[in-house]
Amino acid sequence: MSDRKISEMSFEEAMAELEAVVERLERGDVPLEESISLYERGAALKKRCEAKLKEAEEKVAAITLDAEGNPAGTREVTGF
Protein backbone atom coordinates (compact mmCIF):
# COMPACT_ATOMS: atom_id res chain seq x y z
CA MET A 1 0.00 0.00 0.00
CA SER A 2 1.28 3.43 -0.89
CA ASP A 3 2.14 5.72 1.99
CA ARG A 4 1.58 8.80 -0.11
CA LYS A 5 -0.72 11.43 1.24
CA ILE A 6 -4.07 11.09 -0.39
CA SER A 7 -4.54 14.85 -0.43
CA GLU A 8 -1.53 15.13 -2.77
CA MET A 9 -2.74 12.50 -5.19
CA SER A 10 -3.94 13.16 -8.70
CA PHE A 11 -7.32 11.77 -9.66
CA GLU A 12 -5.64 8.98 -11.60
CA GLU A 13 -3.41 7.93 -8.71
CA ALA A 14 -6.28 7.99 -6.23
CA MET A 15 -8.51 6.06 -8.61
CA ALA A 16 -5.85 3.43 -9.30
CA GLU A 17 -5.27 2.88 -5.61
CA LEU A 18 -9.00 2.80 -4.88
CA GLU A 19 -9.39 0.04 -7.45
CA ALA A 20 -6.46 -1.87 -5.95
CA VAL A 21 -7.94 -1.53 -2.46
CA VAL A 22 -11.35 -2.77 -3.61
CA GLU A 23 -9.76 -5.71 -5.36
CA ARG A 24 -7.76 -6.71 -2.30
CA LEU A 25 -10.74 -6.44 -0.05
CA GLU A 26 -12.87 -8.46 -2.44
CA ARG A 27 -10.30 -11.26 -2.52
CA GLY A 28 -11.10 -11.71 1.15
CA ASP A 29 -7.68 -12.95 2.25
CA VAL A 30 -6.84 -9.90 4.36
CA PRO A 31 -6.71 -10.06 8.17
CA LEU A 32 -9.60 -8.26 9.83
CA GLU A 33 -7.50 -5.46 11.29
CA GLU A 34 -5.99 -4.77 7.91
CA SER A 35 -9.28 -4.98 6.11
CA ILE A 36 -10.67 -2.29 8.36
CA SER A 37 -7.76 0.05 7.61
CA LEU A 38 -8.08 -0.88 3.94
CA TYR A 39 -11.70 0.10 4.02
CA GLU A 40 -10.89 3.41 5.68
CA ARG A 41 -8.24 4.17 3.09
CA GLY A 42 -10.59 3.18 0.30
CA ALA A 43 -13.22 5.56 1.63
CA ALA A 44 -10.68 8.39 1.78
CA LEU A 45 -9.53 7.65 -1.77
CA LYS A 46 -13.10 7.68 -2.99
CA LYS A 47 -13.58 11.07 -1.37
CA ARG A 48 -10.45 12.36 -3.07
CA CYS A 49 -11.66 11.10 -6.46
CA GLU A 50 -15.02 12.77 -6.04
CA ALA A 51 -13.41 16.02 -4.99
CA LYS A 52 -11.11 15.98 -8.02
CA LEU A 53 -14.07 15.36 -10.30
CA LYS A 54 -16.13 18.11 -8.70
CA GLU A 55 -13.39 20.71 -8.97
CA ALA A 56 -13.42 20.28 -12.74
CA GLU A 57 -13.86 23.78 -14.06
CA GLU A 58 -13.55 25.29 -17.47
CA LYS A 59 -11.15 28.15 -17.81
CA VAL A 60 -10.04 29.24 -21.24
CA ALA A 61 -7.32 31.78 -21.86
CA ALA A 62 -5.31 32.84 -24.87
CA ILE A 63 -1.63 33.58 -24.66
CA THR A 64 -0.69 37.12 -25.56
CA LEU A 65 2.61 37.56 -27.33
CA ASP A 66 5.04 40.42 -27.22
CA ALA A 67 6.73 41.97 -30.25
CA GLU A 68 9.26 39.14 -30.44
CA GLY A 69 6.54 36.51 -30.31
CA ASN A 70 7.28 35.49 -26.72
CA PRO A 71 4.41 34.88 -24.31
CA ALA A 72 3.68 38.05 -22.34
CA GLY A 73 0.52 37.05 -20.50
CA THR A 74 -2.94 35.61 -20.93
CA ARG A 75 -6.31 36.98 -21.93
CA GLU A 76 -9.57 35.38 -20.83
CA VAL A 77 -11.46 33.89 -23.74
CA THR A 78 -15.24 33.67 -23.49
CA GLY A 79 -18.15 33.20 -25.78
CA PHE A 80 -17.57 29.72 -27.09
Binding site: L18, G42, C49, A62
Partner: protein, 504 residues
Protein backbone atom coordinates in the same frame (compact mmCIF):
# COMPACT_ATOMS: atom_id res chain seq x y z
CA UNK B 1 30.62 66.08 -82.97
CA UNK B 2 31.89 65.47 -86.48
CA UNK B 3 29.51 62.52 -86.65
CA UNK B 4 26.63 64.91 -86.92
CA UNK B 5 28.11 66.31 -90.11
CA UNK B 6 28.37 62.96 -91.78
CA UNK B 7 26.20 62.49 -94.82
CA UNK B 8 23.03 60.82 -93.95
CA UNK B 9 22.96 57.14 -94.91
CA UNK B 10 20.09 54.72 -94.53
CA UNK B 11 18.93 54.95 -90.95
CA UNK B 12 21.45 57.58 -90.24
CA UNK B 13 18.85 59.68 -88.56
CA UNK B 14 18.21 56.89 -86.00
CA UNK B 15 19.05 57.80 -82.43
CA UNK B 16 22.39 56.74 -81.29
CA UNK B 17 22.56 55.39 -77.69
CA UNK B 18 25.34 55.06 -75.32
CA UNK B 19 25.62 51.61 -73.78
CA UNK B 20 24.46 52.95 -70.48
CA UNK B 21 21.53 54.67 -72.09
CA UNK B 22 20.51 51.56 -73.92
CA UNK B 23 21.05 49.34 -70.96
CA UNK B 24 19.01 51.70 -68.82
CA UNK B 25 16.24 51.77 -71.39
CA UNK B 26 16.19 47.98 -71.66
CA UNK B 27 16.13 47.72 -67.91
CA UNK B 28 13.18 50.06 -67.63
CA UNK B 29 11.47 48.21 -70.43
CA UNK B 30 11.94 44.82 -68.81
CA UNK B 31 11.02 46.01 -65.36
CA UNK B 32 7.99 47.82 -66.68
CA UNK B 33 6.77 44.96 -68.78
CA UNK B 34 7.60 42.18 -66.35
CA UNK B 35 7.11 43.93 -63.01
CA UNK B 36 5.04 41.03 -61.83
CA UNK B 37 5.36 37.62 -63.45
CA UNK B 38 4.70 34.03 -62.58
CA UNK B 39 7.07 31.51 -64.10
CA UNK B 40 6.62 27.81 -64.07
CA UNK B 41 9.97 26.10 -64.21
CA UNK B 42 12.23 23.37 -62.95
CA UNK B 43 14.79 24.48 -60.41
CA UNK B 44 18.35 24.06 -61.61
CA UNK B 45 21.54 24.83 -59.74
CA UNK B 46 20.94 26.43 -56.29
CA UNK B 47 23.55 28.51 -54.48
CA UNK B 48 23.09 30.08 -51.06
CA UNK B 49 25.69 32.87 -50.88
CA UNK B 50 27.50 33.71 -47.71
CA UNK B 51 25.66 37.02 -47.75
CA UNK B 52 22.37 35.17 -47.30
CA UNK B 53 21.16 35.86 -50.85
CA UNK B 54 19.86 32.82 -52.67
CA UNK B 55 20.80 32.35 -56.34
CA UNK B 56 19.22 29.67 -58.46
CA UNK B 57 18.39 28.78 -62.05
CA UNK B 58 14.92 28.33 -63.40
CA UNK B 59 14.79 26.31 -66.58
CA UNK B 60 12.76 24.31 -68.98
CA UNK B 61 13.97 22.08 -71.80
CA UNK B 62 15.23 24.99 -73.94
CA UNK B 63 15.99 28.03 -71.81
CA UNK B 64 17.55 29.04 -68.54
CA UNK B 65 16.53 32.04 -66.44
CA UNK B 66 18.66 33.30 -63.58
CA UNK B 67 16.74 33.90 -60.40
CA UNK B 68 17.68 35.54 -57.13
CA UNK B 69 16.00 35.84 -53.78
CA UNK B 70 17.49 38.49 -51.55
CA UNK B 71 18.33 37.64 -47.98
CA UNK B 72 15.16 39.00 -46.38
CA UNK B 73 12.87 37.41 -48.95
CA UNK B 74 14.65 34.10 -49.04
CA UNK B 75 13.79 33.50 -45.39
CA UNK B 76 10.12 34.13 -46.09
CA UNK B 77 9.79 31.79 -49.04
CA UNK B 78 7.13 29.13 -48.50
CA UNK B 79 9.47 26.53 -49.89
CA UNK B 80 13.19 26.44 -50.24
CA UNK B 81 14.18 25.69 -53.83
CA UNK B 82 15.87 22.36 -54.40
CA UNK B 83 17.36 21.14 -57.64
CA UNK B 84 14.85 19.26 -59.76
CA UNK B 85 11.88 20.85 -58.02
CA UNK B 86 8.92 21.84 -60.19
CA UNK B 87 7.99 25.35 -59.03
CA UNK B 88 5.98 28.40 -59.79
CA UNK B 89 8.08 31.47 -59.02
CA UNK B 90 6.46 34.84 -58.57
CA UNK B 91 8.48 38.05 -58.76
CA UNK B 92 9.71 40.80 -61.00
CA UNK B 93 12.25 40.81 -63.80
CA UNK B 94 15.25 43.02 -63.49
CA UNK B 95 18.26 43.68 -65.66
CA UNK B 96 21.81 43.87 -64.45
CA UNK B 97 23.39 46.43 -66.80
CA UNK B 98 26.94 45.83 -65.70
CA UNK B 99 26.93 42.36 -67.29
CA UNK B 100 24.15 42.62 -69.89
CA UNK B 101 22.11 40.20 -67.87
CA UNK B 102 18.56 39.92 -66.71
CA UNK B 103 17.15 37.87 -63.88
CA UNK B 104 14.00 37.16 -61.95
CA UNK B 105 13.87 38.53 -58.44
CA UNK B 106 11.75 35.89 -56.71
CA UNK B 107 9.29 37.06 -54.08
CA UNK B 108 7.31 33.87 -53.71
CA UNK B 109 7.95 30.32 -54.58
CA UNK B 110 5.46 27.47 -54.58
CA UNK B 111 5.51 23.94 -55.76
CA UNK B 112 3.91 23.37 -59.13
CA UNK B 113 1.29 20.65 -59.19
CA UNK B 114 0.13 18.04 -56.66
CA UNK B 115 2.46 15.32 -57.92
CA UNK B 116 5.51 17.46 -57.38
CA UNK B 117 4.36 18.40 -53.90
CA UNK B 118 3.74 14.77 -52.99
CA UNK B 119 7.15 13.78 -54.28
CA UNK B 120 8.74 16.43 -52.10
CA UNK B 121 6.67 15.38 -49.10
CA UNK B 122 7.76 11.79 -49.57
CA UNK B 123 11.41 12.76 -49.82
CA UNK B 124 11.19 14.79 -46.65
CA UNK B 125 9.29 12.07 -44.82
CA UNK B 126 11.97 9.54 -45.65
CA UNK B 127 14.77 11.83 -44.55
CA UNK B 128 13.11 12.61 -41.20
CA UNK B 129 12.13 8.99 -40.65
CA UNK B 130 15.74 7.98 -41.25
CA UNK B 131 16.64 10.31 -38.38
CA UNK B 132 14.26 8.38 -36.15
CA UNK B 133 11.88 11.29 -35.57
CA UNK B 134 8.81 9.09 -36.13
CA UNK B 135 10.07 6.06 -34.19
CA UNK B 136 7.41 4.41 -31.99
CA UNK B 137 9.77 4.35 -28.99
CA UNK B 138 9.79 8.16 -29.03
CA UNK B 139 6.05 8.29 -28.43
CA UNK B 140 5.03 9.46 -24.98
CA UNK B 141 1.97 8.27 -23.13
CA UNK B 142 -0.79 10.84 -22.91
CA UNK B 143 -1.70 11.96 -19.39
CA UNK B 144 -4.81 10.25 -18.18
CA UNK B 145 -6.37 13.46 -16.94
CA UNK B 146 -4.44 16.63 -17.86
CA UNK B 147 -5.00 19.65 -15.64
CA UNK B 148 -3.95 22.18 -18.26
CA UNK B 149 -4.29 21.69 -22.01
CA UNK B 150 -2.37 23.84 -24.47
CA UNK B 151 -3.95 24.30 -27.88
CA UNK B 152 -1.90 25.55 -30.81
CA UNK B 153 -4.34 26.83 -33.42
CA UNK B 154 -6.07 29.82 -34.83
CA UNK B 155 -7.86 31.69 -32.02
CA UNK B 156 -10.94 32.14 -34.15
CA UNK B 157 -12.86 29.65 -36.15
CA UNK B 158 -14.51 26.30 -35.87
CA UNK B 159 -11.48 24.34 -34.73
CA UNK B 160 -11.00 25.91 -31.32
CA UNK B 161 -14.76 26.02 -30.82
CA UNK B 162 -15.09 22.29 -31.52
CA UNK B 163 -12.26 21.49 -29.13
CA UNK B 164 -13.61 23.64 -26.31
CA UNK B 165 -17.14 22.30 -26.72
CA UNK B 166 -16.03 18.72 -26.60
CA UNK B 167 -13.79 19.37 -23.59
CA UNK B 168 -16.71 21.02 -21.80
CA UNK B 169 -18.93 18.01 -22.51
CA UNK B 170 -16.43 15.50 -21.30
CA UNK B 171 -14.35 17.14 -18.61
CA UNK B 172 -14.02 20.92 -18.31
CA UNK B 173 -10.32 21.77 -18.06
CA UNK B 174 -8.07 24.73 -18.02
CA UNK B 175 -7.19 25.56 -21.64
CA UNK B 176 -4.41 27.80 -22.93
CA UNK B 177 -4.66 28.85 -26.56
CA UNK B 178 -1.46 29.80 -28.36
CA UNK B 179 -2.68 31.70 -31.41
CA UNK B 180 -0.88 30.92 -34.69
CA UNK B 181 -1.39 31.31 -38.41
CA UNK B 182 -2.56 27.94 -39.67
CA UNK B 183 -1.63 28.53 -43.30
CA UNK B 184 0.71 30.59 -45.35
CA UNK B 185 4.32 31.45 -44.84
CA UNK B 186 3.96 32.36 -41.16
CA UNK B 187 2.33 29.06 -40.30
CA UNK B 188 5.39 26.82 -39.87
CA UNK B 189 7.57 29.20 -37.83
CA UNK B 190 4.65 30.20 -35.60
CA UNK B 191 3.51 26.65 -34.95
CA UNK B 192 7.09 25.55 -34.20
CA UNK B 193 7.52 28.49 -31.87
CA UNK B 194 4.25 27.78 -30.10
CA UNK B 195 5.19 24.15 -29.43
CA UNK B 196 8.59 25.14 -28.11
CA UNK B 197 7.05 28.02 -26.18
CA UNK B 198 4.60 25.75 -24.34
CA UNK B 199 7.47 23.44 -23.46
CA UNK B 200 9.50 26.34 -22.13
CA UNK B 201 6.83 27.40 -19.61
CA UNK B 202 7.43 26.51 -15.98
CA UNK B 203 4.95 24.01 -14.51
CA UNK B 204 2.61 25.89 -12.17
CA UNK B 205 4.04 29.29 -13.18
CA UNK B 206 2.10 32.47 -13.90
CA UNK B 207 1.27 30.88 -17.23
CA UNK B 208 1.23 27.20 -16.25
CA UNK B 209 2.93 24.71 -18.48
CA UNK B 210 0.31 22.46 -20.07
CA UNK B 211 0.23 18.70 -19.41
CA UNK B 212 -0.87 18.11 -22.98
CA UNK B 213 -0.55 20.02 -26.28
CA UNK B 214 -3.05 19.82 -29.12
CA UNK B 215 -1.93 21.18 -32.50
CA UNK B 216 -5.09 21.61 -34.56
CA UNK B 217 -6.22 22.87 -37.94
CA UNK B 218 -9.29 22.29 -40.04
CA UNK B 219 -9.32 20.68 -43.47
CA UNK B 220 -7.73 22.28 -46.51
CA UNK B 221 -5.74 21.67 -49.67
CA UNK B 222 -2.29 20.15 -49.56
CA UNK B 223 -0.91 23.63 -50.04
CA UNK B 224 -3.04 24.98 -47.18
CA UNK B 225 -1.73 22.34 -44.83
CA UNK B 226 1.81 22.61 -46.09
CA UNK B 227 3.11 24.45 -43.04
CA UNK B 228 2.53 21.31 -40.97
CA UNK B 229 4.90 19.42 -43.27
CA UNK B 230 7.75 21.80 -42.68
CA UNK B 231 10.82 20.40 -41.03
CA UNK B 232 10.90 22.93 -38.18
CA UNK B 233 7.35 22.05 -37.18
CA UNK B 234 8.05 18.33 -37.37
CA UNK B 235 11.19 18.70 -35.27
CA UNK B 236 9.45 20.85 -32.66
CA UNK B 237 6.67 18.26 -32.35
CA UNK B 238 9.15 15.38 -32.08
CA UNK B 239 11.22 17.19 -29.47
CA UNK B 240 8.27 18.27 -27.33
CA UNK B 241 8.61 16.96 -23.79
CA UNK B 242 4.92 17.60 -23.26
CA UNK B 243 2.81 14.88 -24.89
CA UNK B 244 1.35 16.18 -28.15
CA UNK B 245 -1.78 15.34 -30.14
CA UNK B 246 -1.92 16.47 -33.75
CA UNK B 247 -5.26 17.12 -35.40
CA UNK B 248 -4.51 18.70 -38.76
CA UNK B 249 -6.95 18.56 -41.66
CA UNK B 250 -9.39 15.77 -42.24
CA UNK B 251 -8.90 12.12 -41.59
CA UNK B 252 -7.58 11.52 -45.12
CA UNK B 253 -4.94 14.23 -44.91
CA UNK B 254 -1.72 13.09 -43.39
CA UNK B 255 0.88 15.70 -42.64
CA UNK B 256 4.35 15.09 -41.28
CA UNK B 257 3.44 16.55 -37.87
CA UNK B 258 0.97 13.67 -37.53
CA UNK B 259 3.86 11.24 -37.81
CA UNK B 260 5.95 13.07 -35.23
CA UNK B 261 3.10 13.58 -32.74
CA UNK B 262 2.59 11.21 -29.82
CA UNK B 263 -0.99 10.67 -30.96
CA UNK B 264 -2.82 11.60 -34.13
CA UNK B 265 -6.45 12.61 -33.98
CA UNK B 266 -8.50 12.56 -37.20
CA UNK B 267 -10.33 15.77 -36.25
CA UNK B 268 -10.06 18.51 -33.61
CA UNK B 269 -13.11 17.05 -31.86
CA UNK B 270 -11.44 13.67 -31.72
CA UNK B 271 -8.38 15.35 -30.24
CA UNK B 272 -10.50 16.64 -27.36
CA UNK B 273 -11.86 13.13 -26.85
CA UNK B 274 -8.35 11.70 -26.70
CA UNK B 275 -7.33 14.44 -24.31
CA UNK B 276 -9.75 13.87 -21.44
CA UNK B 277 -11.96 11.11 -20.09
CA UNK B 278 -15.67 11.65 -19.53
CA UNK B 279 -16.24 13.09 -16.10
CA UNK B 280 -19.66 11.54 -15.55
CA UNK B 281 -18.26 8.14 -16.44
CA UNK B 282 -15.52 8.66 -13.93
CA UNK B 283 -18.03 9.69 -11.29
CA UNK B 284 -19.94 6.51 -12.00
CA UNK B 285 -16.75 4.50 -11.75
CA UNK B 286 -15.87 6.10 -8.43
CA UNK B 287 -19.39 5.38 -7.18
CA UNK B 288 -19.11 1.78 -8.29
CA UNK B 289 -15.77 1.34 -6.57
CA UNK B 290 -17.25 2.87 -3.42
CA UNK B 291 -20.16 0.44 -3.51
CA UNK B 292 -17.85 -2.50 -4.06
CA UNK B 293 -15.72 -1.32 -1.17
CA UNK B 294 -18.69 -1.27 1.19
CA UNK B 295 -19.96 -4.62 -0.04
CA UNK B 296 -16.59 -6.25 0.35
CA UNK B 297 -16.23 -4.84 3.85
CA UNK B 298 -19.61 -6.02 5.06
CA UNK B 299 -19.00 -9.42 3.51
CA UNK B 300 -15.65 -9.58 5.30
CA UNK B 301 -17.33 -8.89 8.61
CA UNK B 302 -20.29 -11.19 7.89
CA UNK B 303 -18.03 -14.07 6.97
CA UNK B 304 -16.01 -13.63 10.10
CA UNK B 305 -19.10 -13.48 12.27
CA UNK B 306 -20.34 -16.66 10.65
CA UNK B 307 -17.02 -18.36 11.14
CA UNK B 308 -16.80 -17.26 14.75
CA UNK B 309 -20.19 -18.82 15.38
CA UNK B 310 -19.18 -22.04 13.64
CA UNK B 311 -15.94 -22.26 15.52
CA UNK B 312 -17.42 -21.56 18.92
CA UNK B 313 -19.93 -24.34 18.38
CA UNK B 314 -17.13 -26.65 17.38
CA UNK B 315 -15.05 -25.86 20.48
CA UNK B 316 -14.72 -28.99 22.70
CA UNK B 317 -15.37 -29.00 26.52
CA UNK B 318 -12.23 -28.04 28.44
CA UNK B 319 -12.39 -31.31 30.44
CA UNK B 320 -12.11 -33.42 27.31
CA UNK B 321 -9.04 -31.45 26.33
CA UNK B 322 -7.46 -32.35 29.69
CA UNK B 323 -8.39 -36.03 29.80
CA UNK B 324 -6.14 -37.09 27.05
CA UNK B 325 -3.26 -35.13 28.44
CA UNK B 326 -3.74 -36.53 31.95
CA UNK B 327 -3.69 -40.05 30.58
CA UNK B 328 -0.54 -39.37 28.70
CA UNK B 329 1.07 -37.96 31.82
CA UNK B 330 0.24 -41.10 33.78
CA UNK B 331 1.65 -43.38 31.12
CA UNK B 332 4.78 -41.33 30.89
CA UNK B 333 5.26 -41.30 34.66
CA UNK B 334 5.05 -45.09 34.69
CA UNK B 335 7.63 -45.46 32.06
CA UNK B 336 9.92 -42.87 33.54
CA UNK B 337 11.65 -45.05 36.22
CA UNK B 338 12.26 -47.99 33.93
CA UNK B 339 13.50 -45.77 31.24
CA UNK B 340 15.91 -44.12 33.63
CA UNK B 341 17.32 -47.46 34.79
CA UNK B 342 17.65 -48.78 31.28
CA UNK B 343 19.39 -45.66 30.26
CA UNK B 344 21.80 -45.79 33.19
CA UNK B 345 22.56 -49.42 32.36
CA UNK B 346 23.21 -48.60 28.76
CA UNK B 347 25.49 -45.77 29.73
CA UNK B 348 27.41 -47.89 32.21
CA UNK B 349 28.00 -50.51 29.54
CA UNK B 350 29.19 -47.93 27.21
CA UNK B 351 31.47 -46.50 29.88
CA UNK B 352 33.01 -49.95 30.38
CA UNK B 353 33.66 -50.29 26.66
CA UNK B 354 35.09 -46.89 26.48
CA UNK B 355 37.39 -47.27 29.49
CA UNK B 356 38.68 -50.59 28.10
CA UNK B 357 39.51 -48.85 24.93
CA UNK B 358 41.00 -46.06 26.94
CA UNK B 359 43.26 -48.42 29.03
CA UNK B 360 44.53 -50.32 26.07
CA UNK B 361 45.14 -47.06 24.39
CA UNK B 362 47.13 -45.85 27.41
CA UNK B 363 49.12 -49.06 27.43
CA UNK B 364 49.84 -48.86 23.82
CA UNK B 365 51.00 -45.38 24.28
CA UNK B 366 53.33 -46.26 27.15
CA UNK B 367 54.62 -49.29 25.29
CA UNK B 368 55.35 -47.19 22.33
CA UNK B 369 57.16 -44.70 24.52
CA UNK B 370 59.25 -47.45 26.16
CA UNK B 371 60.02 -48.90 22.77
CA UNK B 372 61.12 -45.59 21.59
CA UNK B 373 63.34 -45.15 24.62
CA UNK B 374 64.78 -48.63 24.14
CA UNK B 375 65.51 -48.01 20.54
CA UNK B 376 67.11 -44.75 21.41
CA UNK B 377 69.39 -46.40 23.94
CA UNK B 378 70.11 -49.41 21.76
CA UNK B 379 71.23 -47.02 19.15
CA UNK B 380 73.64 -45.54 21.64
CA UNK B 381 75.16 -49.01 22.43
CA UNK B 382 78.56 -49.67 20.79
CA UNK B 383 79.02 -53.42 20.39
CA UNK B 384 82.47 -53.01 18.86
CA UNK B 385 83.90 -51.74 22.12
CA UNK B 386 82.28 -54.55 23.99
CA UNK B 387 83.50 -57.30 21.69
CA UNK B 388 87.04 -55.92 21.70
CA UNK B 389 87.01 -56.11 25.47
CA UNK B 390 85.53 -59.55 25.34
CA UNK B 391 88.17 -60.79 22.98
CA UNK B 392 90.88 -59.44 25.22
CA UNK B 393 89.39 -61.14 28.23
CA UNK B 394 88.90 -64.36 26.28
CA UNK B 395 92.55 -64.45 25.39
CA UNK B 396 93.47 -63.81 29.01
CA UNK B 397 91.15 -66.57 30.05
CA UNK B 398 92.73 -69.00 27.62
CA UNK B 399 96.19 -68.12 28.86
CA UNK B 400 95.18 -68.56 32.45
CA UNK B 401 93.49 -71.82 31.55
CA UNK B 402 96.62 -73.08 29.90
CA UNK B 403 98.68 -72.04 32.87
CA UNK B 404 96.17 -73.65 35.20
CA UNK B 405 96.10 -76.99 33.39
CA UNK B 406 99.89 -77.01 33.10
CA UNK B 407 100.19 -76.28 36.78
CA UNK B 408 97.51 -78.84 37.55
CA UNK B 409 99.22 -81.46 35.51
CA UNK B 410 102.53 -80.73 37.20
CA UNK B 411 101.00 -80.74 40.72
CA UNK B 412 99.09 -83.87 40.02
CA UNK B 413 102.16 -85.71 38.84
CA UNK B 414 104.16 -84.55 41.86
CA UNK B 415 101.41 -85.58 44.19
CA UNK B 416 100.96 -88.91 42.48
CA UNK B 417 104.64 -89.60 42.78
CA UNK B 418 104.63 -88.54 46.39
CA UNK B 419 101.53 -90.55 47.03
CA UNK B 420 103.11 -93.61 45.46
CA UNK B 421 106.15 -93.13 47.60
CA UNK B 422 103.97 -92.76 50.66
CA UNK B 423 101.89 -95.78 49.64
CA UNK B 424 105.04 -97.78 49.35
CA UNK B 425 106.13 -96.46 52.72
CA UNK B 426 102.75 -97.22 54.17
CA UNK B 427 102.96 -100.68 52.77
CA UNK B 428 106.19 -101.08 54.62
CA UNK B 429 105.07 -99.46 57.84
CA UNK B 430 101.41 -100.82 57.99
CA UNK B 431 100.28 -102.94 60.84
CA UNK B 432 98.89 -105.56 58.50
CA UNK B 433 102.41 -106.45 57.53
CA UNK B 434 103.11 -106.76 61.26
CA UNK B 435 100.09 -108.99 61.64
CA UNK B 436 101.66 -111.37 59.16
CA UNK B 437 104.56 -111.57 61.41
CA UNK B 438 102.35 -112.92 64.25
CA UNK B 439 101.05 -109.90 65.97
CA UNK B 440 97.31 -109.32 66.57
CA UNK B 441 95.16 -106.26 67.18
CA UNK B 442 92.67 -106.37 70.17
CA UNK B 443 89.59 -104.22 69.94
CA UNK B 444 87.08 -103.55 72.72
CA UNK B 445 83.72 -102.36 71.67
CA UNK B 446 85.30 -101.45 68.28
CA UNK B 447 88.18 -99.46 69.76
CA UNK B 448 91.83 -100.49 69.89
CA UNK B 449 92.57 -101.80 73.32
CA UNK B 450 96.11 -101.28 74.50
CA UNK B 451 95.85 -102.13 78.21
CA UNK B 452 94.36 -104.56 80.64
CA UNK B 453 92.18 -101.99 82.25
CA UNK B 454 90.66 -101.10 78.97
CA UNK B 455 90.16 -104.68 78.09
CA UNK B 456 88.47 -105.38 81.49
CA UNK B 457 86.05 -102.46 80.96
CA UNK B 458 85.12 -103.49 77.41
CA UNK B 459 81.95 -105.41 77.10
CA UNK B 460 83.10 -107.30 74.05
CA UNK B 461 86.59 -107.94 72.68
CA UNK B 462 87.71 -108.76 69.11
CA UNK B 463 91.05 -109.98 67.89
CA UNK B 464 92.29 -109.21 64.42
CA UNK B 465 94.75 -111.49 62.78
CA UNK B 466 96.33 -111.14 59.45
CA UNK B 467 93.76 -113.33 57.84
CA UNK B 468 90.61 -112.14 59.72
CA UNK B 469 88.96 -111.13 62.90
CA UNK B 470 87.98 -113.36 65.83
CA UNK B 471 85.47 -112.36 68.55
CA UNK B 472 86.89 -113.13 72.04
CA UNK B 473 83.86 -112.56 74.38
CA UNK B 474 83.93 -110.56 77.69
CA UNK B 475 87.18 -110.25 79.51
CA UNK B 476 85.64 -109.36 82.99
CA UNK B 477 83.61 -112.72 83.30
CA UNK B 478 86.85 -114.82 83.64
CA UNK B 479 87.88 -113.48 87.06
CA UNK B 480 91.40 -113.52 86.22
CA UNK B 481 92.09 -110.24 84.89
CA UNK B 482 95.69 -110.98 84.18
CA UNK B 483 95.27 -114.11 82.31
CA UNK B 484 93.49 -113.03 79.18
CA UNK B 485 95.78 -110.20 78.80
CA UNK B 486 98.55 -112.47 79.24
CA UNK B 487 97.06 -114.81 76.96
CA UNK B 488 96.67 -112.14 74.68
CA UNK B 489 100.02 -111.12 75.49
CA UNK B 490 101.16 -114.56 74.97
CA UNK B 491 99.50 -114.92 71.76
CA UNK B 492 99.62 -111.48 70.40
CA UNK B 493 100.66 -108.71 72.79
CA UNK B 494 104.30 -109.08 72.09
CA UNK B 495 104.17 -108.37 68.45
CA UNK B 496 101.21 -106.12 69.05
CA UNK B 497 103.14 -104.06 71.52
CA UNK B 498 106.11 -104.15 69.35
CA UNK B 499 104.17 -103.03 66.31
CA UNK B 500 102.55 -100.28 68.20
CA UNK B 501 105.78 -99.25 69.68
CA UNK B 502 107.30 -99.04 66.33
CA UNK B 503 104.39 -97.27 65.09
CA UNK B 504 104.47 -94.56 67.71
Amino acid sequence: MSDLLEPAGPGANAHEFTVSELSGKIRRLIEGEFGHVRVRAEVGRVVLARSGHLYFDLKDDRAVLSAVSWKGQAARLAIRPEEGMEVIATGRMTAFAGQSKYQLVVEALELAGEGALMALLERRRKALAAEGLFAPERKKKLPWLPEVIGVVTSPSGAVIRDILHRLRDRFPRRVLIWPVAVQGKACAPEVARAIRGFNALAPGGAIPRPDLIIVARGGGSVEDLWGFNEEEVVRAAAESAVPLISAVGHETDTTLIDLAADMRAPTPTAAAELAVPVRTELLARVEEQGARLSRAMSREIGQRRQRLGDLSRALPRPATLLEGAAQRLDRAAERLGAALRATAQRKRLRLGELSAVLRSRAMHRRLAEARARLEERAARLQPALLSRDMARRGRELERQEARLSAAARLGLEQRRQKMEALARMLQGLGYTETLRRGYAVVRGDGRIVTGVEAARSARELEIEFADGRLPAGRAGGGGTGGAPSRRKGERGAGPDEGAQGRLF
